[in-house]
Every structure is written in structure tokens, then in C-alpha cells.
């Protein structure tokens, strides 16, 4: 039959030749099985964690698997994942209570403000995006979302800025405050948001052996 004569495309004008449906079904089964196993594999990689014990700060927590210690960081303890996410632990003394000032244990946002001012003096273009109070490991703690520019000062104007975006929690412990941060390049913000609740839930504290 000529398609030109009928004005119908060849594909629809010709008599179809039967093809076995079982072949389609088998391919579909393989595709679905591949997608299901692939989903499990994805979960295995993305949700994999290692537990870490930071004896100097008396903190136990979960960190993303295959994180590597950063020995030269300015932190008390820090690790980084291959994808660029960092978990940092620091300490600061609990501020002395002054007259008329809120008790940081009752209102941890005071700690967050102190911390933000301190960070603004230490890193480039630090900005506190939002703050909140949350109960972490049974202690009222201050949480802040922040941004800063992680950049070698010598190359500041000659290369693209690497904006770091993260969360940190400030937890009063005795006479000091433990600060746990999770941050990453701004492009990985989704990963930070995804892992942050797991990190918070994994936090446990113990006596610091000095």
C-alpha cells in the first residue's frame, strides 16, 4: 500500500505483524527489578553513616560514611565527606551571667548571637540566616542557619566565591557550650538539610576526660 496515495503515514497504514507480548513483559520486569535494586543501592550509599566519638568534647555522633578528618582545620574536631560536606565540633565558654541579661541556659539564643559575632570576626562575609531554639539530647539548645565565604584571601577577587551554607547547634554543657556544625558548599544545601535532623538525633554527651 502506498502512503502517498492514502495520505496516511506508513506506520499506521500498513498491516501490523504480531509480536510476542511476553518479550515486552520480560523487559518490563527487568527494568522494574533494576530500578528497585538501584533504589536500595542509592539508600545504602546516601544513608550510610559512621559513628564518631570526640573524646575532647565528650560528644558521640553520626557522620556521613567515608568522612575524612581535617587535621589542619581551625576547629576542635572536623571531618569532610568526599562530596564536600563538613561536620565541625567546637567549644566556647558559657558567658558569665550579667545583671539584667537572660540566662543562656534558659534562652540559648543569647549563645547564638555571641557565636554569630565571633564567626563574623573569623570568616569572610558571615551571615546568620535564621535562629531557633530546639531541645537536643534533653537540653534546650540554640540553632542557627548561616552562610559565609570560604575563600583563600589571596585569590579572593580572581576566582569564583565558594559560599558555605550550614546549620549549627549550640548546646550548654556544664560551664561550656558545645557547638556542632554541619555545612557544605551552597550547591549541596539539600544534602545538608537532609542529614541535619539525623545528626541532631544522634548527638550524645559524656564526661570529658581531660
Amino acid at each position: 500500500m502506498s502512503a502517498a496515495n492514502t495520505g496516511v503515514s506508513l506506520a499506521f497504514s500498513e498491516q501490523p505483524i504480531p509480536v510476542r507480548r511476553s518479550a515486552d513483559f520480560l523487559v518490563l520486569v527487568i527494568l522494574i527489578a533494576a530500578l528497585a535494586i538501584g533504589w536500595w543501592l542509592r539508600g545504602e550509599v546516601l544513608n550510610a553513616t559512621d559513628s564518631a566519638n570526640v573524646a575532647d568534647a565528650g560528644v558521640q555522633l553520626l557522620v556521613p560514611k567515608r568522612s575524612i578528618a581535617l587535621p589542619n582545620s581551625r576547629d576542635l574536631w572536623a571531618v569532610e565527606t568526599p562530596s564536600g560536606l563538613r561536620v565541625r565540633i567546637n567549644e566556647m565558654p558559657l558567658p558569665t551571667l550579667k545583671e539584667g541579661q537572660a540566662d543562656p541556659r534558659q534562652n540559648p539564643l543569647v549563645l547564638v548571637t555571641d557565636r554569630a559575632l565571633e564567626e563574623a570576626r573569623t570568616v569572610d562575609m558571615f551571615r546568620s540566616v535564621s535562629t531557633a531554639i530546639q531541645n537536643v539530647a534533653g537540653v534546650a539548645s540554640g540553632i542557627q542557619e548561616y552562610l559565609y565565604v570560604d575563600q583563600n584571601a589571596a585569590k579572593f577577587y580572581s576566582s569564583p566565591l565558594r559560599v558555605m551554607h550550614g546549620y549549627e547547634v549550640l548546646i550548654p554543657q556544664g560551664d561550656h557550650v558545645v557547638i556542632v556544625s554541619l555545612e557544605g558548599p551552597d550547591t549541596k544545601w539539600d544534602q545538608v538539610k537532609e542529614f541535619w535532623p539525623r545528626l541532631l538525633n544522634s548527638l550524645k554527651f559524656s564526661e570529658v576526660k581531660k
Binding site: S9, L10, A11, E14, Q15, P16, I17, P18, V19, R20, S22, A23, D24, L26, V27, L28, V29, I30, L31, A34, L35, I37, G38, W39, L41, R42, E44, V45, L46, K65, R66, T81, P82, S83, Q191
Partner: protein
């Protein structure tokens, strides 16, 4: 009882069977028709593409090119090699060339399936770019198995369904080699979608090794589609068992999985990243796959040749 006649000259080939068959004389004649010219055109085009890519890789760091121009060059690099491979594989079907509209239509369908199904599955749902990397997944097995399942199987299955629900039921699909031609067209479309997704993600491309990688990716996808198409050809005109379809999907997926794994593995030394070993290895791999495809085409032709005495030729 019906008699089989040569699909080209009409000479008597003996007892009738499913599909189109040819006499040895017609096969010999078609093989020689424009043979030398086609090979020269292929070699010259290959030299131009690879030479251009290598020149770009060497010269790119010294050139100042606007991002808009880079994007245009990137689009050209995505489409031109794909169309080139499409023409090469199409030209291999000498006995009874398929309707150009069908072949080009499957190429476009491949792009659409890639953009609407394959890329969203791989990038948005499975987020392969986040975890299917040796540095993140750790070891070699997860990247290898992940590439096989989520890149290989998905590409091969989409190629199969694209051919199966468009040209396969028509009477145009009557030679084993047709599966190879249509499979190549569909897979090349999927490859273009993969390269376009890369471009839209990065906005622009590195004119260095990125250009060469795009050219090699096109050849690799063409070869994967051709291998899948070979199995499709065995089912319908060849009268093979249905199990050949899933078997073809798995074989094609293993080959693509190995290819993708090589791309990842050899370029993953993040401290001293050197893309050249990966590029050379994948180019060699794609070239071998390309050669295998032409062996499959020759084999498909041999299976379609019948001696006038009525016996199928196995020579």
C-alpha cells in the same frame, strides 16, 4: 506452498519463510556499491571530528570565548556527531534502506524519551550525580552495579520499547539488520538527551576534553543501541525466542555499565585529575563496540542470504 523471492532482484530462493531474504549475488553487488566512497567519507569525517576535538582540547585554554558561544558550540557538538553516526549506521543498510522518516523519527523519539524519562529518572529521582561516583560510593562494585542497573538497563529497555512500539509492528521491519538501524537511531537520541542534560546543568561546557567526551559518548550510545537492536532483529524477522529481548537488554546493559564505570573510574583521581587516560580508554572501548556492531551487521546480512538452491548461506 509459497515461494521465497530475493528482496532485491526477485529471483527464486526456495521455500517461503518469515522475513526478507536476498540472493548472494545481490548481497555481493550491494556490498561493493559505493563501498570505497563510504569508507573514505567515514575515515575523513572521523579524522575531522577527533582532530577537531583534540585541537580544541589543546587550544581551548588559550582562547577567550564567550559563554554564549560556548553554549552554541556545545549544542553543535551534541547534535553533529549524533547525526554523523546516524548517517554512518544508516548507510550500512545497503540492501533495502529503511524509510528516512522512520529512522529520523526514532532519533527524535529517543531525544524525547531521554528528556522526559531517562534523564529525570537518573538525575532527579535517583540523583546519580550525588552518589554513583567511586569517591562517594567507595570501592568498585557499587559504581559498576549501579551503572549496569540504572544506566545500562534503563537505556537498553527504553531503546527496546522505542523500537518495539513504533516501527517493529510495521511491515518495514522485515530484516534482521533493521533492528540495528532503528536501535541505533533511538539510542543516539537518548545519548543526545544525556548530553543536552549535561549542557543545561552546566550552562556551558569545557571546550577541552568535554568536547571529545561528547563525541565519544555519541559513538558509545550508537553502539549500545545497535547491540540492543541486533537482538530485536533476531526476534521479529529472525523468528527467535521472546527471551532474546531481555537477554539483549542484559547484554547491552553490561556493556554500557562497563563503559560508564570506565568513564568514572579512570577520571576519579580527584587530587591529580587527568582526564586523558579515561578519554583514551573510553574511545578505545567505543571503537571496539563500533567494530562489534559492524560484525553484527555482517552477521545479520549473512543470515538473510539464501542460495538459489534454497539453503540459507552460513558463509
Amino acid at each position: 506452498m509459497s515461494r521465497e523471492r530475493c528482496g532485491r532482484c526477485g529471483c527464486d530462493l526456495g521455500a517461503g519463510r518469515e522475513g526478507v531474504f536476498y540472493c548472494e549475488n545481490c548481497l555481493r553487488t550491494s556490498r561493493h556499491a559505493g563501498h570505497a566512497g563510504m569508507w573514505w567519507a567515514t575515515i575523513i569525517a572521523l579524522i575531522l571530528m577527533v582532530g577537531g576535538g583534540v585541537t580544541m582540547a589543546i587550544m581551548a585554554p588559550k582562547l577567550t570565548i564567550s559563554s554564549d558561544l560556548r553554549l552554541l558550540i556545545g549544542l553543535g557538538l551534541t547534535l553533529v556527531p549524533a547525526l554523523f553516526w546516524l548517517i554512518i549506521f544508516y548507510s550500512a543498510d545497503k540492501l533495502e534502506p529503511e524509510p528516512k522518516g522512520y529512522v529520523f523519527g526514532l532519533f527524535i523519539l529517543g531525544i524525547l524519551l531521554g528528556g522526559a524519562i531517562q534523564q529525570p529518572i537518573q538525575r532527579d529521582i535517583y540523583e546519580l550525580q550525588r552518589w554513583l561516583l567511586p569517591s562517594i560510593a567507595g570501592g568498585k562494585w557499587i559504581p559498576l552495579v549501579g551503572s549496569f542497573l540504572l544506566k545500562g538497563i534503563v537505556t537498553a529497555a527504553l531503546t527496546y520499547f522505542a523500537v518495539r512500539f513504533t516501527v517493529m509492528p510495521t511491515s518495514e521491519f522485515d530484516e534482521r539488520v533493521d533492528g540495528i538501524i532503528y536501535g541505533t537511531a533511538a539510542a543516539l537520541g537518548l545519548g543526545v538527551a544525556a548530553n543536552l542534560a549535561y549542557l543545561s546543568e552546566h550552562g556551558t561546557i569545557s571546550l577541552g576534553v568535554g568536547a571529545l567526551q561528547i563525541i565519544i559518548t555519541s559513538l558509545a550510545y550508537a553502539s549500545f543501541g545497535a547491540i540492543m537492536g541486533y537482538f530485536i532483529g533476531l526476534i521479529k524477522p529472525g523468528g527467535g525466542a521472546s527471551v532474546l529481548a531481555p537477554f539483549g537488554v542484559i547484554v547491552t546493559a553490561i556493556i554500557q555499565g562497563l563503559y560508564e564505570w570506565m568513564v568514572m573510574q579512570m577520571g576519579s583521581n580527584n587530587l591529580n585529575y587527568n582526564p586523558w587516560p579515561s578519554l583514551i580508554a573510553t574511545a578505545v572501548f567505543a571503537a571496539v563496540a563500533y567494530a562489534v556492531v559492524f560484525i553484527l551487521i555482517a552477521s545479520a546480512y549473512r543470515a538473510m542470504v539464501v542460495n538459489p538452491s534454497g539453503k540459507e548461506s552460513l558463509a
